[in-house]
């Protein structure tokens, strides 16, 4: 076994972009991100102005995605809505990942009894569906974009903590971590300097999976009127405003729905692709 041990599998961006699902996901995501950034400049109409066109007019040359019940240009609103959806998703994932990873690492280094207790608590919270948990938290915190972000972040913590714990527990049992323990390195430093770099790659994958769940939760909360408040556009809230016109003007639901769908899909594709590439059991070449 002396010379055959594999080098740690590294994640390289150029190679990753040749993987079909990462490439597809990245292209879709790039479009959505560009839309979010450039929305104010590329939107053909003011997304807030009522009567940009006739009310509930179907998609056409003047209004690519049609107009909503107040005559606002739907294309412009979906573009600007990308900002809210991605922004909430990003903020929630960053906060949730940070806290979840910290919890997971701490649990992995707890003495056996405390570890058991903490894991059961995480399991109980984890058994609630993300969106339901976020919903309950918003009900407690009050509606609004910031509270929705906070609630989604918290709802992601159990998932991230559980996965991090699993990864860290494997590393913790390895002799290199034991060597650090013997050397007298403080547990917090072992977590940060020894364990974290070795599980980071997997955490990136897990992060991207949480992203799609966060965007779904954000849309769900806004749809229920608990997230982004009208008249600010967000995909979920556009869906909500259009639901009364589903028979007469289905495009109000189709386009934001499609946007949510594609964004979630892009994150799932990227996540799957990274997992494929970093799978230590050999790379499955597809496409």
């Amino acid at each position: 076994m002396t010379d055959t041990a594999l080098p740690p599998r590294r994640f390289r961006l150029p190679a990753a972009l040749r993987h079909w699902s990462i490439a597809t996901g990245a292209v879709i995501l790039a479009v959505v991100v560009l839309a979010a950034i450039l929305a104010p400049w590329v939107a053909p109409y003011d997304p807030f102005r009522m009567g940009s066109g006739p009310r509930l007019s179907p998609p056409g040359a003047a209004h690519w995605f049609g107009t909503d019940e107040l005559g606002r240009d739907l294309f412009s609103r979906v573009l600007l809505g990308a900002r809210a959806s991605l922004g909430i998703g990003l903020a929630a994932v960053v906060a949730g990942l940070g806290l979840g990873v910290s919890f997971g690492l701490v649990i992995a280094f707890c003495p056996a009894r405390l570890k058991g207790l903490l894991l059961r608590i995480v399991d109980v919270v984890y058994s609630f569906p993300d969106t339901l948990l976020a919903l309950a938290l918003v009900a407690f915190l009050g509606p609004g974009a910031e509270n929705a972000t906070l609630a989604i972040a918290i709802s992601l913590i159990p998932f991230y903590a559980r996965v991090t714990y699993g990864l860290a527990a494997v590393e913790r049992a390895k002799p290199y971590v034991e060597a650090a323990q013997i050397a007298g390195t403080a547990p917090t430093r072992i977590m940060r300097v020894q364990v974290l770099p070795n599980i980071l790659q997997s955490l990136i994958v897990i992060g991207s999976i949480g992203f799609s769940s966060a965007i779904l939760s954000a849309a769900g909360l806004s749809f229920l009127g608990l997230g982004v408040q009208p008249p600010s556009p967000e995909w979920g809230s556009i869906l909500a405003s259009g639901r009364n016109y589903i028979a007469r003007a289905p495009w109000i639901l189709i386009f934001p729905g499609l946007a949510i769908c594609l964004t979630v899909l892009s994150f799932n594709l990227i996540g799957d692709g990274i997992r494929d590439l970093t799978d230590p059991k050999g790379r499955r070449r597809r496409g």
Binding site: P8, P175, A180, Q181, I182
Partner: protein, 267 residues
Amino acid sequence: MADATPPIVDIRGLTKTFRAAGRQIRALDGVDLTLAPVETLGIVGESGSGKSTIGRILAGLETATGGEIRLAGQDLRGARGAAAKVQMIFQDPYASLNPRMPIGLQIHETLRGSGHRDRVANLARAAELLARVGLPPDALQRYAHEFSGGQRQRIAIARAMSTDPAVIVADEPVSALDVSIRGQILDLMRQMKGHTACLFISHDMAAVASLCDRILVLNRGRVVETGPTAQIISNPRDPYTRALLEAIPRIGRRRTGTGSTPMETLA
């Protein structure tokens, strides 16, 4: 060994019980052991005899169920600071190095654990140690996967030596290595003798005989026999020790008589 110097390690009545699937498994059952400064003690026994557990308890990776351990006169229990005086060399040289940290930094981290915070000084010390175990100067910036198994074990030895430990626990340090490399690592460990005391844990009687001053034979968590290497090898009193010795493969010596193998003895 009747000299006046007090032992660096003094273990009395050490017991360790593991709980597995509701059953209690007694890994160590009243082990007494002393280790003089700069002495190398071989602990031999079959898998499951509890030999690794002694080393892991001494290194602070496990806690004893009962008994007393004194390290340089201090009670080990509760004294976390004392543990820095013990370093360990592991069986699997690859898993004992962090795959994503350059070798130099790993030695720096080890030194940092015992209060040496100056990174530049630590890296200089790391370079000196790596040279001493026969590695090229650029080893400092390289990663574990760039080295062979034997080289990795040299790095592990350099890391263990870095803090000037009073005791090194070497847990099967050569059993994962190619036979051709084994001799080199044993030579290196022989050079360490005189700098530090060593607990050399192995099931390889030949390696133990070539390296250790004294041997302690362990069977099912109990000390079966202990004494100077020459005495144990040439005149084993316990049948279990004889069985372990019989198991050493030898070239040009036909095994005669009914000499029992360890398997038969245990059956």
